[in-house]
Every structure is written in C-alpha cells, then in structure tokens.
C-alpha cells in the first residue's frame, strides 16, 4: 500500500483515548500508509491522572498515562489538549441528554470531533499540505448504548462540522463511504465492519497486530459513566442550588469518603495514605479536621458549620474513622483555610450514629 509512487502522503489526526479501539483504528490507518498524529482531550473527568496523584508512594504499581503509552506503542506524535473549561457546557447543558449516569456521551463526541475539526482546519491554513486530511476515531456501531448507535454516527459527523472527513476504520464498511475512501486515500475493502458489544473482533485484530497489555476501561473513558461519581456530582449541584463546577470540585469527587450530615456541609474523609496526601493539598481552600491524639484520616469540610455543635458532630464522625475510635475521647485539630488552628476533644461517634443516608455516592 505504501508505494513510493503515491504523490502525497495523506495525514490523519486520530482521537486517542488510551483504550484499545482508538489504538486499533490508528493501526488500521498506518497499515494503509496513512501518517497519523494523535490528539487526546483532557476534560477533567478522565480516569487518567487522578490515579497518579493519589497513589501510595512506592506501593502501587507505576501508573501510566494510557494515551501517551498508546502513542509510544504506535510511534505517533500526541497532542494533549486541555478542554476542561469549554467542556463544562457539554456536561451542564448536553443538547442530546445524558446516558445512564451524568455522561453526556453524544454531545461529548460531537464536541471532541469538532475540536479536531477546528484543529485540522487551522493546520491546513498554517501548514498547507503538511496539515491533516481527515479525522479518525475508534468508534464502533452499537458499542455504547447511547452515543455509538447507527443513527448517532451521522449526527456526530454533521454536528461536529467534520462531515465526510470523519472516518471510523473499525466500522466504516457499515457506513456510507467518506472522503478518504472516495478519494482512494484509504482502501474501503481493508476497513472493518465491527458492530455491537461483542469485543471478539477487536481482540482478534489486536492479536493480529501483536498488541497486548492495552487498557480496557470497563464503563467508559471517564468518571461520568460511574454511578457513584455521578451521584456525588448531582449532590454537589443540589447542595449549592446551582449547576456549576470548578476543576477542583470534580477532582475532589474522585477521592475519599463523602458524607453529608447536614444539607449545608459535607465531609470528604481520606481512606488511605495516598488520599491523605492528595487532600492535604486542599487545606488552604477548605476548613480541615485531623486527629492529633491518634493516627487518623484528614477530612475537608465543604460548606460551613452552622454552630459549634455541628463542628463537634463533624469531629466525632472523623474520630470514628481514626485509630482512636474505641477510645473515650479523641482530640482533633480544626484548621481554617488561612492556617489558624485550634484543638477540640470529642467522643468518637458510635457506628450507628453515622447514618447510611449521609453517604454521598
């Protein structure tokens, strides 16, 4: 396929999530002599990343950034783009609604393909033939109930503005020919007709390419497909009486035990050392509680205490999760964001005093 006679080497930009499907899609293109560069969008909800920050030092297996790993395996360049600010509108106002949880998958796909379209338009303007000719994704018809159905494929192409410059090598044979197929840049006969949730064809193709050790995210590429995470996000909006979020908010939803004893405050309590270190970094933004008379967790207070009694209640809850839970009293430090601290001694809450209904998520 890669005869020297080919006048121009066609170039594609591929949406690379770090999972197997986009990896295969790139590989199929490379087999046809297409030069591919990858783009990976950072939304803030990515499963990536957070695992780094909260991992226990030296203990956990070295975590890797899957998008970078995929790029290295495939020998492609990778552009990682921070879209977290613009992405808020996708999460808050998805035109096509949500999936099973707060995952706006269809709008998300449209948004990302649109971003890639803007990139190739800009690159063409700046670089002419060194720009990109089309966009590649690893989408497979029927793979995801909401966003990857046969009817949604043309919606993504049209609403993103990519139109027939969007090629899905893994299911292209089930869809009308796109520009790269019609122009003969790629051979449609060597593309695929995968559909449905059966992963066997992908596994077979991976084996054929000799790929292994790839990431296989269960639910989806981001935390929004996770039920517990979506519940925490919904709780945040409800507590604030407003649907909005900052990047720090959505990071904190990934970490710790979240308890809401009162509508106006929530406790975020670390469960292990890695989370402890992670939450440590937020102590200048939130009031925090730590045990001083015994080892225990770090807790952030999201909201305000209405009274000293509420502070005591919170301290008793935190003490309940400390090593001193069986002691008569536990002493904690209450520190405000400006660093001013004082100590408070309470009796740890009894197990039945921590209500299951306080659990957010």
């Amino acid at each position: 396929m890669t005869e020297a006679s080919q006048p121009i080497k066609r170039r594609a930009i591929a949406l690379v999530s770090g999972g197997l499907d986009s990896m295969l899609a790139v590989k199929v293109m490379q087999e046809q002599g297409i030069e591919v560069e990858g783009v990976n969008f950072y939304t803030g909800f990515c499963v990536e990343g957070h695992t780094h920050a909260i991992r226990k030092k030296d203990k956990d297996k070295e975590k890797r950034n899957n998008a970078l790993w995929v790029a290295e395996q495939l020998g492609i360049k990778m552009h990682i783009i921070d879209i977290s600010e613009e992405y808020k509108d996708v999460v808050l106002n998805p035109k096509h609604g949500y999936g099973a949880n707060l995952n706006p998958c269809l709008d998300c796909k449209i948004f990302m393909v649109n971003q890639a379209t803007l990139m190739i338009n800009k690159a063409r303007e700046l670089a002419g033939d060194r720009g990109f000719d089309f966009i590649v994704t690893g989408e497979v018809i029927g793979q995801r109930p909401k966003s990857q159905r046969k009817e949604t494929m043309p919606i993504i192409s049209q609403e993103s503005g990519a139109d027939d410059r969007l090629l899905r090598p893994l299911c292209a044979q089930n869809l009308p020919p796109t520009l790269p197929e019609r122009e003969g840049w790629v051979n449609r006969d060597e593309l695929h007709d995968f559909s449905g949730r059966n992963r066997k064809p992908q596994m077979a193709l991976a084996a054929k390419f000799g790929l292994d050790d790839f990431a296989q995210p269960a639910g989806g590429c981001c935390f929004l497909t996770d039920e517990s995470y979506s519940n925490k996000l919904a709780d945040l909006w409800k507590a604030r009486n407003e649907r909005r979020y900052e990047l720090d908010d959505i990071m904190l939803l990934k970490v710790g035990r979240h308890l809401r004893p009162q509508p106006h405050y929530k406790l975020i309590i670390s469960r292990e050392e890695g989370e402890n270190r992670f939450l440590e970094g937020y102590r200048y933004q939130f009031t925090s509680l730590t045990t001083v008379s015994c080892p225990g967790p770090l807790a952030l207070v999201d909201g305000e205490f209405g009274s000293e009694a509420e502070l005591e209640q919170a301290a008793a809850i935190v003490a309940r999760y400390s090593k001193g839970r069986v002691e008569e009293t536990v002493t904690l430090e209450v520190r405000s964001p400006d660093g001013v601290a004082r100590e408070i001694t309470v009796a740890p809450a009894q197990p039945d005093a921590v209500l299951a209904s306080w659990n957010v998520g």
Binding site: Y42, C46, H52, N65, I76, G281
Partner: protein, 83 residues
C-alpha cells in the same frame, strides 16, 4: 551541567496537566533550549519522559527534592508548534 535556560512551575497541578503545560511551553521554545519543569505530582516523572520520547525531546535529568519532583529536558528538532 549549566543551569537550564527556562523553568516551568507546575506545582500543585495534577496529571496530565503537568504534561499539557510542558507541551505548551515547549511549543514556544527553540531546538536545543533546556527547560526545567518543577511539579508536585510524582506521576510527572513517568509522564513527562514518555511525552519526551514520543515527541523527540531529550530528558537530561530528573529527580526528587523533598515533596517536589523535577525534569530537565532539551527541546528536540520539532517543538510541536504546528497549530
């Protein structure tokens, strides 16, 4: 080693933001320039070198200083500034 020409402070940022900021900074630099990236997320010690390997930059030095980690790199032939 002579001290790096440029320094990037990405303390407190979580992965993959240190990589993204490094990428965006390198786009403004010239081939051969050196850049020291200082971070607090230890994941950067695997991500930034991986990013460098992919994009043809050279890692000159990396390590830990207390709660911080740092990577010193030299910008390769293509700084990645296509768009």
């Amino acid at each position: 080693m002579t001290s790096p020409l440029h320094e990037l402070d990405v303390r407190r940022l979580l992965c993959p933001m240190p990589v993204i900021k490094t990428q965006n900074k390198v786009r403004t630099l010239a081939t051969g320039d050196t850049l020291k990236v200082v971070c607090t997320d230890p994941g950067a010690l695997s991500d930034i070198p991986a990013w460098c390997r992919i994009n043809g930059h050279e890692v000159l030095e990396m390590g830990e200083q207390g709660n911080e980690v740092f990577v010193v790199l030299r910008v390769g032939e293509d700084n990645g500034a296509l768009f």
